[in-house]
């Protein structure tokens, strides 16, 4: 017997959510979704969540189990039982619950909309198919597996503090067009994606890679867009400058020059940006936390340079 501790919410009955426990015998082979259905169909018909395909392709049944988002149909119930014989079920994060585990996906779809999520070719279509090599197909193979389940969006640490961030799903969707050999708006796309709320606002925590139930793995796709943006010369923004300064510092000294990186990130001719840095710098100075004025290279800096050389080749 396992105890399902489920976060319940029904705005028609009471304004606050609460937890309710259900006991269920998880039979061999039951997915988490099977367990949820068993609870709904035999214990409490009002238990509410979304579901449809049962085969991890429609993206309806993402929920939080034991604090992390996952697809309920894709996981064996027995594998999720904790040491204390419980499974905790909650609605996805970063979206508002409508009832029990069903949340409002509107902000999620609004952000998908923002990335111009459709092919924008430059040339007129030929009579037959546009050519695309297997290698070119492979560049968009993973991102095109996204099922829009919202698991990444739910557990994204940036979205928790910044509503403006496009979020992992929309950015993975963007990569699918940025790197599609048939698309003609690569430069425009990476310019847009380099603005605040875009790729450079990702904090690289890779939580979305952990949560993604498919090979779409948004953080990897975000890195790919960053690479394209830099290759296309879209560097006139804090994020790109930060990345470049970071690389330069490690290449020349083997470590980070923390005096220079903030300055180069905002841009050395960006007077206002530099002034904005001053209060932080001064506070650090007075607390004795400023890095040494003269940045020293590490002893094995030549090894680091060799790594860069090999990578450049």
């Amino acid at each position: 017997m396992a105890t399902f501790r489920i976060k319940r919410y029904n705005p028609e009955k009471q304004a606050e959510s609460y937890y309710e426990e259900f006991e269920l015998d998880i039979k061999h082979g039951m997915t988490l979704l099977d367990c949820m259905n068993e609870i709904k169909w035999t214990l409490d018909g009002s238990f509410t969540y979304r579901m449809s395909c049962r085969s991890a392709i429609c993206g309806s049944c993402a929920v939080k189990a034991n604090g992390h988002s996952l697809l309920a149909c894709q996981r064996q119930g027995a594998h999720l039982v904790k040491d204390d014989d419980t499974i905790v079920l909650e609605p996805l994060g970063n979206m508002k619950p409508i009832k029990d585990l069903a949340v409002d996906f509107k902000p999620f779809w609004d952000k998908i909309d923002k990335i111009n999520p459709y092919l924008q070719p430059n040339e007129k279509a030929p009579k037959e198919e546009r050519k695309q090599s297997p290698e070119q197909f492979r560049l968009i193979d993973d991102s095109s597996t996204c099922i829009m389940c919202g698991a990444c969006y739910s557990d994204c640490n940036v979205l928790e503090v910044d509503d403006n961030f496009l979020g992992p799903a929309a950015l993975a969707k963007a990569q699918r067009f940025v790197q599609d050999s048939r698309d003609g708006k690569t430069l425009e796309r990476v310019r847009d994606l380099s603005k605040p709320g875009g790729i450079w606002d990702c904090t690289h925590c890779a939580e979305c890679v952990e949560r993604c139930p498919k090979p779409a793995q948004p953080f990897h796709r975000i890195k790919e867009i960053m690479t394209v943006a830099l290759d296309q010369g879209v560097t006139n923004n804090n994020g790109a400058r930060h990345a470049l300064s970071f690389t330069k510092s490690v290449k020349s000294s083997g470590s980070l020059n923390e005096n220079i990186i903030p300055v180069e990130s905002v841009g050395i001719f960006n007077i206002k940006g530099l002034f904005d840095l001053l209060p932080v710098g001064l506070r650090m100075f007075f607390k004795g936390k400023n890095p040494p004025i003269f940045h020293k290279s590490i002893d094995d800096v030549e090894d680091v340079k060799r790594i860069y050389m090999e990578l450049d080749e």
Binding site: T31, I57, E129, P134
Partner: protein, 569 residues
């Protein structure tokens, strides 16, 4: 009252493709009980057929004959001809819209072999072709957002017919429970199939016959309901799909003795015979006690394909095996069994998607249908793999076109809003007020079990009679259930009850049509009439709902080029 020029119910491939046509000139609403990208078209894995000839020379004539032979000669051949001729341009168009396809070394759309097709004709995107097309069409809908309004998580209850003309639908918002009338100049149904009436099925929870049954209740017949396709490779017990592409890529089927038993049933095509034949072969092996470990299990063996090919061509299938049954197909065979998969029958339409109400082809003005919910019939008694995605796109486009042309010529007809609304409000009230001792879950389980056991791969008169009796009894018990959730907000329980009502009706139609067809053809196999009988049954069935119960009529098959011949593989 909500008003649109054209309303489309269902947002899978057929619905979205239709919407892209209509929105060129008129305002269109797409209504779905799930969000559009959750539609079940997305679960299609293996491919979409077209005689592009990208890996071997191919022609529409061969695609034509394969489809007709696969359908056991019940297909309407005039429609099939247009269907297969349209295929290449439809695929190119999807590609131009941005759909992601796997490629040949020279950059063309890659094609693989599939059951019943004599040439490698399945265009694919790894093993998630439906998903790739669904998302490509969804992208185009977002692009056309100005003229397309999406009502996601809305439920369609009934069709508003005035004589021979359709004037709209009655719907409700699942999220708020609000019932509304949607007035429209034209309505297109793209509501999918009804595999959920079976216990072992590959279908999503959404496949509950809502569209087909609301047409039926409005007096429109259901064509060829007895023809249900059982897919040979459903995951043991769960029924979810392992694509035929696994066999297209070279996978073997093995019985409990480790024999490739298909050589007894279809020596020339082996595992790539049409689905009805493979499913029957599997069932025969299992019934003879040659299932794996004596259970209802057949092995799908991919080990000899090697890791590289599996990872490139069948990655999703491998993951499904690992997640759902703990089997990695690179090292072990997958346990499978036949699973209810596709409805060849549905709402009768002409080859343009215009719904017709009788054997003479009398149109129901302003009412169109496409995709699995419709019966053109291009699939006849058994659909070939990869022809369903093609059906949805080809006839989705056509239905959209004719609905657009029609809607441009007529205005909105008056609708008695309060009358239509009251009928649906009363339905809700009835469910909320019921206070009986029956459990809906038991009724649903008993329906699914009897349908799989008595109306499955093999059927006979005795078992079908028991099946019909059981369903009728369940329909009585259904009236004595009790609902727990009486709220308005996102009440999924009450919608499941309404869906169950639709499924019970559909189950009875399927079994009744199956009992009346005293022959074996395609997906319908009667052990008491094991031969095809062209003399008496080379015709489509039409089941009507009348005041005195069900009435079955028939409609001739359109035969143009290929006279019925013996069907061997």
């Amino acid at each position: 009252m909500i008003k649109h020029d054209v309303v489309i119910v269902g947002s899978g491939l057929a619905g979205m493709r239709a919407a892209l046509e209509v929105c060129k000139d008129l305002d269109v609403a797409v209504l779905s009980k799930v969000y559009p990208t959750r539609s079940h078209s997305g679960a299609a894995q293996g491919g979409i057929a077209a005689s592009l000839g990208n890996s071997e020379p191919d022609s529409w004539e061969e695609h034509f004959y394969d489809t007709v032979k696969g359908g056991d000669f019940l297909n309407d051949q005039d429609a099939v001809e247009e269907f297969v001729k349209a295929a290449p341009s439809v695929i190119y168009e999807l590609e131009h819209l941005g759909c992601v396809f796997s490629r040949t070394p020279n950059g063309k759309i890659a094609q693989r072999s599939f059951g019943g097709h004599s040439k490698p004709r399945a265009c694919f995107s790894a093993d998630r072709t439906g998903h790739a097309i669904l998302h490509a069409l969804h992208e185009q809908l977002l692009k056309s957002a100005k003229s397309v309004k999406i009502y996601s998580e809305w439920y369609m209850h009934s069709l508003i017919l005035d004589g021979d003309r359709c004037n709209g639908i009655v719907v409700s918002d699942i999220r708020t429970g609000a019932v509304e009338v949607m007035q429209a100049r034209a309505v297109i149904f793209a509501t999918g199939g009804y595999g959920r009436v079976f216990n072992i099925t590959s279908n999503a929870f959404a496949g509950t016959a809502d569209g087909v049954m609301s047409a039926y209740r409005a007096g429109i017949p259901i064509e060829d309901a007895e023809f249900v396709q059982y897919h040979p490779s459903g995951l043991y017990r769960q029924g979810i799909l392992f694509s035929e592409a696994a066999r297209g890529e070279g996978g073997y089927l093995l019985n409990g003795k480790g024999e490739r038993f298909m050589e007894k049933y279809a020596p020339s095509r082996m595992e790539l015979a049409p689905r009805d034949i493979v499913a029957r072969a599997e069932q025969s092996e299992m019934d003879a006690g040659r299932g794996v470990d004596g259970k209802d299990i057949i092995h799908l063996d991919l080990r000899h394909l090697g890791k590289a090919r599996i990872m490139e061509r069948l990655p999703q299938i491998r993951q499904l095996g690992i997640d759902f049954i703990g089997v990695d197909c690179i090292t072990d065979p997958l346990p499978i069994q036949p699973t209810a998969h596709y409805s060849m029958g549905g709402i009768p339409v002409d080859k343009f998607g215009q719904v017709i109400s009788d054997a003479e082809g009398t149109p129901v003005k302003g009412f169109f249908a496409a995709g699995e919910c419709a019966c053109v019939s291009v699939h006849g008694a058994n659909r070939l793999g990869t022809n369903s995605l093609l059906d949805a796109v080809v006839f989705g486009e056509r239905a959209g076109k004719v609905a657009l042309e029609y809607a441009k010529t007529v205005g909105h007809a008056p609708v008695n809003e309060s009358h239509e609304k009251t009928k649906v409000l009363e339905l809700f009230e009835e469910i909320f007020q019921q206070d009986g001792g029956e459990c809906y879950n038991d009724i649903r389980n008993e329906m699914k079990t009897i349908m799989t056991e008595n109306c499955g791969v093999f059927r006979d008169a005795d078992r079908l009679k028991v099946c019909i009796e059981t369903i009728q009894n369940l329909r009585q018990r259904y009236k004595k259930g009790k609902v727990t959730d009486k709220g308005k907000v996102f009440n999924t329980e009450v919608y499941e009850i309404i869906e169950l009502g639709n499924m019970l009706g559909m189950a009875e139609v399927i079994a009744t049509a199956a009992l009346a067809r005293n022959e074996s053809r395609g997906g319908h196999h009667r052990t008491d009439f094991p031969k095809r009988d062209d003399q008496n049954f080379l015709k489509h069935s039409l089941v009507y709902l009348t005041d005195d119960g069900m009435e079955i009529k028939y409609k001739p098959v359109v035969i143009t080029k290929h006279q019925p011949a013996e069907r061997t593989y």
